[in-house]
């Protein structure tokens, strides 16, 4: 596959991305071990598409989002944004790239500076990039606040004057004001109540339709991810274990972990009685991941081969990638 060929369709391509966090110890603070937070993750996102990433704590979904934006340096792999290698970009190139790639964080309380009015927080990016005069920046902030369903007069208020849902709208406004092509949404609704969560999800959907945005949507809640995504990737212990179109993945999951994850979700309908797959034990430590397939100690389909051979991430059906020796629909 050549780079020029892929750029026409894909906005973002991630190839074999790795991130190891060192664990320092001993007298000399030497690296004694590594947390393999991301261990070879590949995926791509088309323009205007939403790719959902799901998985449980410690699976590497947040690290994926941050490494893609180069907020943390990767240990290996490639990230191509419109064909340009993000990880090799110079400081100047990076500055241009950052305008196009924005992030919305999980905790709208922690991600806004409590000491400055929210208008200033939103305008910060514009200022850093020297976009417009102060007057024009003010107009843009006002516009973007209205766009996310707030009032332009809100720009003079401080973060503590807003509710959680409103703060998340401000977080979205801050990303939006840069007119990005890609927004990484890292658990944007998990701190919100259900009724407010629905408001924010609908807003994200509307913005995508109107502005042609591309989302990398990271969440642990499968129902939310199913609602918002075009394609979905399931991660487990630093690896992508399954990746497919939304309908294919939710109707016909192939990886045993995906199946277990789906069956574990309590449905708000007491009349449904399902056969639940209850996984035993906890997620193993990413410092010392299991040999072979990382899921094998908890997998009910595991055979000898799973203990020794790491299954390849293969396309089992068109557009449906699975890493499992015994994947079945």
């Amino acid at each position: 596959m050549t780079v020029s060929n892929s750029t026409s369709e894909h906005l973002l391509e991630v190839r074999n991305l790795k991130k190891y966090f060192p664990i320092k110890g001993g007298l000399m603070r030497r690296t004694v071990a590594e947390v393999k937070a991301l261990d070879g993750v590949s995926f791509s996102i088309k323009k205007g598409e939403t790719l959902g990433l799901v998985g449980e704590s410690g699976c590497g979904k947040t690290t994926t989002g941050r490494t893609v934006l180069r907020l943390i340096p990767p240990s290996g792999g490639q990230v191509l944004f419109e064909g340009q290698d993000v990880l090799k970009a110079s400081a100047g190139q990076m500055r241009v790239l950052r305008r196009n790639m924005q992030i919305v964080f999980q905790d709208p309380y922690a991600s806004l500076n409590p000491r400055i009015p929210v208008g200033q927080s939103i305008a910060e990016g514009l200022k850093i990039h020297n976009i417009g005069t102060p007057r024009e920046r003010l107009d843009q902030v006002a516009q973007v606040l209205e766009r996310v369903g707030l009032n332009s007069s809100h720009m003079r208020r401080f973060p503590h004057e807003f509710s959680g849902g409103q703060r998340q709208r401000i977080g979205i406004a801050r990303a939006l004001v840069m007119q990005p092509k890609l927004i990484v949404c890292d658990e944007p609704v998990s701190a919100l109540d259900v009724s407010i969560q629905a408001q924010v999800l609908n807003l994200l959907n509307d913005l995508q339709k109107d502005l042609g945005l591309t989302y990398l949507f990271i969440a642990h809640n499968l129902s939310v991810v199913e609602h918002i995504s075009n394609r979905v990737g399931v991660m487990y212990l630093g690896r992508m274990v399954e990746l497919s179109s939304r309908d294919q993945l939710f109707r016909k999951p192939m990886h045993p972990y995906t199946k277990a994850l789906m069956s574990a979700i309590p449905l708000p309908d007491p009349t449904i009685k399902r056969d639940r797959i209850i996984l035993e034990g906890d997620v193993p430590s990413p410092v010392n991941p299991p040999s072979g397939c990382r899921f094998h100690p908890r997998c009910w389909l595991a055979q000898d081969i799973c203990k020794h051979d790491d299954p390849a991430f293969e396309e089992k059906e068109p557009g449906h990638f699975v890493a499992c020796h015994f994947a079945q629909g």
Binding site: V194, S195, A198, N202, A264, P268, D282
Partner: protein
Amino acid sequence: MAQSDVLLKLKGVKTYFFTDEGTVHAVDGLDFQVRRGETLGIVGESGCGKSVTSMSILRLLGKTGKVIEGEIMFDGENLLDLSEEEMRKIRGNRISMIFQQPTTCLNPVFRIGEQIIEALQIHQGLSGEEANKRTIELLTLVGLPDPVRRMRSFPHEISGGQAQRVMIAMALACNPELLIADEPTTALDVTIQAQILDLMRELREKVNTAIILITHDLGVVAEMAENVMVMYAGRAVEYAPVHALFEAPKHPYTQGLIASTPVLGNVRDELETIPGQVPSLLNPPAGCRFASRCAHRMDQCTQEEPPLIKLEGDRLVRCWLY
């Protein structure tokens, strides 16, 4: 039904917090009851008063909070009339509680076994050896792997799911008549949540404890509860058996809550939303507290608060539509 069938009965309970900014009407007139062996789910969003309700029952409100009105009858006794010492004999013994953050509820400087043994010695007067034996039994019951060795672990050495199992073991140590579970699985991953819910179901059958399950997750309620109370801004707005509630929610808030929840395998283009936000409990609005967000609002709603209206099939709803 005989009187003794009702284990817990709240009558007109008001819990207020007296803060620098004013009086927070956290729970503002609450009535409900729990029968022996029943599982009652309490649902609602942040600030609706569901956790304050449980803290009021256990009288764990701290300095600023106070139950200023009402009765909390537990097995024929008003908990609000008891002395602190009498209350201590009930807490952790006849009524116990599981919290949302298991790891912060365990004392970090004691081994987990010691913490359960302590409860058994205080409440049940067991000898050290008996308590030790019973602790191993309890940890086995809640499915903690290798309990004899695990007893000697400190809380930081076990995972969140395991810590919640320990909390459940501790809560069940004295065979409580009532277990209050406040968001017991919210901090856990889904696959671990499934394990814990499964465990709670299994234990409910074995020990026949009444459970008050407090959660914001409609899925968890649908799966676990027999009856459900929906709370909004310090008030109960709807009360119904679980099947009836999900089949035909009556209160506009309950309807909105169910419609705004994305459901796995049932994708809609646009989620229903409830416009606006929860009113401040410093100055709760007159009339129905949901009125400002309600699509069915009438003049009456902003003037007069509706009472809990009785409907067919053991249902109650606080709305002028009925």
